[in-house]
Symmetry: C2
Subunit: 209 residues, 2 copies
C-alpha cells in the first residue's frame, strides 16, 4: 500500500462490519479534519462544521434511531429484495471508534454568496466535497469510514443540539478496521453491481459517445 | 511536488485565470474519470454521468450565458462589494482545454435506493463525492479544475440535451495551468478570508469544544 492518490481512491470503501473500535490518535484526527476543511467551497463560504462524537450514550441513541429507520425501509421492499436487505449491515455506529457529523450552514458567507445566486444547492455541494476529502484522508491513514444515512435530519439535529437552519449532511463512522474489502458490500451481497464507466461517459452532448 | 494525498488536498485550487489550453492526453482524462467513477454512492447507485465537452460552439454558448448570470449577481451587490466583485474572474471556460459536466440521475438504482428513503438529497451528495475525486485526480496530474456555478440548470440541460429528471450538478473546466496559487483567488482578491478549523470543530454536541 502506498499513499498514492489513485491507490487511495480505488481502495476506499464504505465500511460497516470491519471496525475494531481501537483508539485513534488525536494527531491523526487533526490531519483528517484539516483535509476536510481544505475542501473547495462556493464563494469560499466553507459552510461545513464537524461534530466529533465519542460519547457512548449519544451514539447509542443514534443507533436505536437507525434501527427503527431500517425497519421503515425494509417495509417498502418486496419479498426478494427484503431477503437480500436482511443480510446487509447498514452501520457500524457502536463498533467504530467515533462518529463525525458533517453539517451545512446556508447562512455562512451570506447574504450574497459568490457563485450561489443561480444554484441554491451549491452550498450543500461544498459540504459534500469536504466529506470526500475526509474519507480519502482517513483511507490514507489506514482507517475506515462508513456513511450512515438511515436517519431523519430532525432527529440528529435535536440529538446534537444543532441550531435550526443548519443541516446535518452526513453521519460518518470512523476508526481502525480489520480490512477494507476489494468489492463493495452491496455488490458482495448481491444488492447491486457496479455500472461500467463507459456508460456514464458522453461527448459534447448527452448520449453521444 | 509528490503524489501524497495530503499534499494534493492542500495544493488543490479552484482555477480561473491560469489555464493554458494545452492538449490533454486521452489516457490522463481516462484516469481522472475513472477516479471520479470510483466515488462512494448511496445504495451503490452511482447516479453520476460525465459529459466531456471539447466543442468550441458549445463552450461559447455556455460562456455567454455565464456572462449574463454574472451581471445578474453583480446587480444584487452594494457598491463596495460590487467593486471587489468586478476584479474577480468567475470562469475559464474558453481558456481551459475542455469542460466536464457532472450530472445526477435520481432514478438510477431505484425505486428503492438503499440509504435514501429518509434523505432525498443523499443521491445528489453522491455526485458531489465523484466531483471531489475528479478534482483531486486532476490536481495529482498537475492540472487545474475550475467549478463554474454562474448558470441556470435549465440552460445547461437544454444546451447539452440532458433529459428531464437528470440534473446538472457542476460545470468543471479542466486542463493544464501555468500554476496553482497558494492562496485561493477569493482570498487574494479580498472577497473573503478562510475560517479557522477550530471554529468548525465541535465535541459530542454542537457548540461544545
Amino acid at each position: 500500500m502506498s499513499n498514492d492518490l489513485y491507490e487511495i481512491i480505488h481502495r476506499r470503501r464504505d465500511v460497516r462490519g470491519e471496525f475494531t473500535g481501537e483508539p485513534l490518535p488525536e494527531a491523526t484526527l487533526d490531519r483528517i479534519l484539516a483535509a476536510a476543511h481544505a475542501a473547495p467551497s462556493v464563494g469560499l463560504s466553507q459552510p461545513w462544521d464537524f461534530v466529533v462524537i465519542r460519547s457512548r450514550p449519544v451514539r447509542e441513541a443514534f443507533h436505536a434511531h437507525v434501527r427503527r429507520e431500517r425497519e421503515v425501509f425494509a417495509a417498502t421492499l418486496d419479498g426478494e429484495a427484503a431477503g437480500r436487505f436482511a443480510r446487509i449491515r447498514i452501520d457500524g455506529v457502536l463498533e467504530s471508534t467515533l462518529s463525525i457529523v458533517v453539517t451545512y450552514d446556508a447562512e455562512r458567507g451570506g447574504p450574497a454568496v459568490l457563485g450561489r445566486h443561480a444554484i441554491a444547492d451549491a452550498g450543500l455541494y461544498s459540504s459534500c466535497l469536504a466529506i470526500q476529502n475526509l474519507w480519502l484522508a482517513a483511507t490514507a491513514e489506514r482507517l475506515g469510514v462508513g456513511w450512515v444515512s438511515f436517519y431523519r435530519e430532525e432527529f440528529v439535529r435535536e440529538l446534537l443540539g444543532i441550531p435550526a437552519g443548519i443541516r446535518p449532511v452526513a453521519w460518518l463512522c470512523l476508526g481502525p478496521v480489520t480490512r477494507l474489502h476489494d468489492v463493495p458490500d452491496l455488490e458482495r451481497h448481491g444488492w447491486r453491481t457496479r455500472r461500467p464507466l463507459s456508460l456514464a461517459r458522453h461527448t459534447d452532448r448527452w448520449g453521444a459517445q
